[in-house]
Subunit: 332 residues, 2 copies
DNA sequence: TTGAAAGCGGTACCAG
DNA sequence: CTGGTACCGCTTTCAA
């Protein structure tokens, strides 16, 4: 099951087998067929490790995500993967569960794999990690993870804009008691949304509170539960993302609170599910497909031109009005 | 950034550096520290390809899934990954989107990677593929993919039991107009569920019909749409899985049909979402966690004993009653 | 404890 | 067109 084995059986040199396996230039079709026959007979599969080691290049992209369960991350992955396949690249993913230690481990693994490009889409980034990636010379893109630097590209979302719109919109509807539900990750995008929420909400005459739990359906429900058990009764709940918002909806339903009559709920991201839950979520759209395209483009430069300079891309989210928000209930 | 480079700078041989990198037996701690310092200075990351090539072993498990978007598959993956990490293994996943060509490509990729074990959790399996895996000598587990053979383990679900229970239950509630909503994959578990549905439903005096679309929220909605547009008005809709069922719920809601008053809906798998959608789905539980454990155990034998013989595991699903099913509406 | 050297399975350049 | 062969970067005896 090695190149040499095939070569021997086919009565040719390893070089020739290699040429056949790679559809290389000129190989007499008689020889080619002979080799191919042996290849199938032996069920030969070239060793990819040997191949990349010898060849130098990699044809594999690495991608590190905070939470693959959250459709938001998965969508970006899928977008990148689809593009990658059309260009003959593989994508290997790693999940961090928002844990820095795991992120570090994944980063090292990717560097060790000598991936052709690395996309890091996590909220728990750390400057020192960024540095390690930089020094490894691995082409990389970071999604929401600090300033662009060297060969490292960067993509970020204008969270401020998104959150402000939500709050303004709800305030206009007469809401005065707000809550923000987030997940535990204390860094980057997470806190940026929360911070903006707090700042924005303070501009008005409002009461507000925040709660957090794990990112996910169950986390959303738990956060809502602890929020409401504390006795605070918000009329508007702004969630850090759609995924958690769906969990919040469930908890409210269980408590007999109607959405949006009794309380309005908003999400963030506009994942497919936000349209299929009940009631459908008012949210803010983050273009995963577009992010995926951008990520890929920065990692795998067009055949033609050499490679674009490190650049930052900022995305402005769009407001999506659905059924989970409405006027504040009459004050008691 | 190669072993040799480190060796030179540290004034030792590559063998020694290798020993240090692998926490190998005896290395004078002075030398060890010197090497480690150079390693950090140079930001050295061992080349994993060279490592596996030279070492022979792999410490990486491969996993091929039909649709990572469907939480059912993702849950199994997560279970396997969690276990793998505790034992120092990596897991690389590949997605097929239910496409056989993609499955074949992924299979080859995994074999080429010389993974230490391969889990194939797809509905589109083909005997010839199975054969290719077998000949490659890669330890593998198949989830629902034909008879166990050679070093290939096999896990299957007693779909028949699950579907029969759903139909019986609904029939007992007075339903006589059934519909089955599946996805396009024509193979294995898919059709097994559908076939069982048809067989079971025929035992009673019922009208029935089937519809199919892509696996997913949108697919479920589309399938329901085409089903209802055809003029057929089922009082009970049995879905191939929870994921599609959630899409079905959405379509029914849009059409002003109440669940379960006007029509009952059932899912399959018992994914987390089935509990968070509205109304919560009556479904059948498939233990992904357990499947994951089994998969891992079969791929990575305990330290102690050598390796268990090829075996088949059959899982009996459990019925989960929730809010999406109820008595058939009074006949008009 | 440490070094030297033989691979692991391919790729790619240089001759023929 | 095809063969010979020097690596790619690391692991692993075998000796020292």
């Amino acid at each position: 099951m090695s190149l040499e084995e095939v070569a021997r059986r086919a009565g040719v040199s390893t070089a020739t087998v290699s040429r056949v396996m790679n559809n290389k230039t000129v190989v007499k079709s008689a020889t080619r067929n002979r080799v191919l026959r042996v290849v199938t007979e032996l069920n030969y599969h070239p060793n990819l490790h040997a191949r990349t080691l010898a060849g130098g290049r990699s044809r594999t992209l690495g991608m590190i995500l905070s939470n693959m369960e959250n459709p938001f991350f998965l969508d970006i992955y899928r977008a990148v993967e689809a593009l990658a396949h059309t260009r003959g690249y593989e994508v290997v993913v790693a999940n961090t569960d928002y844990r820095r230690e795991q992120l570090l481990a994944s980063l090292r693994m990717m560097i060790g794999r000598r991936v052709a490009g690395l996309a890091v889409v996590v909220s728990e980034m750390d400057p020192s990690f960024l540095n390690e990636v930089n020094e490894s010379k691995t082409p990389a893109v970071f999604y929401d993870a600090g300033a662009a630097c060297q060969s490292v590209h960067n993509i970020r979302i204008n969270y401020r804009l998104g959150i402000e719109r939500m709050v303004d919109y709800l305030h206009d509807l007469g809401h005065h008691k707000f809550a923000f539900i987030g997940h535990h990750s204390a860094l980057g995008p997470m806190s940026e949304r929360e911070v903006t929420f707090v700042e924005t909400v303070k501009r008005f005459d409002t009461e507000w509170r925040t709660a957090a739990d794990e990112d996910g359906l169950e986390g959303g429900r738990q956060a809502a539960r602890s929020l409401l058990q504390s006795g605070f009764q918000p009329t508007a709940i702004i969630c850090v993302n759609d995924f958690m918002a769906v969990g919040v909806l469930r908890e409210l339903r269980d408590r007999g609170l109607r959405v949006p009559q009794d309380v309005s709920v908003t999400g963030f991201d506009n994942i497919k599910l936000s349209e299929f839950c009940y009631p459908a979520l008012t949210t803010v759209h983050i273009p995963r497909e577009r992010i995926g395209r951008h990520v890929f483009a920065m990692l795998v430069p067009e055949e033609a031109k050499p490679k674009p300079p490190a650049q930052e891309m900022i995305i402005d989210p769009e407001f999506v009005l659905r059924a989970s928000t409405g006027p504040a209930p009459a004050r008691e």
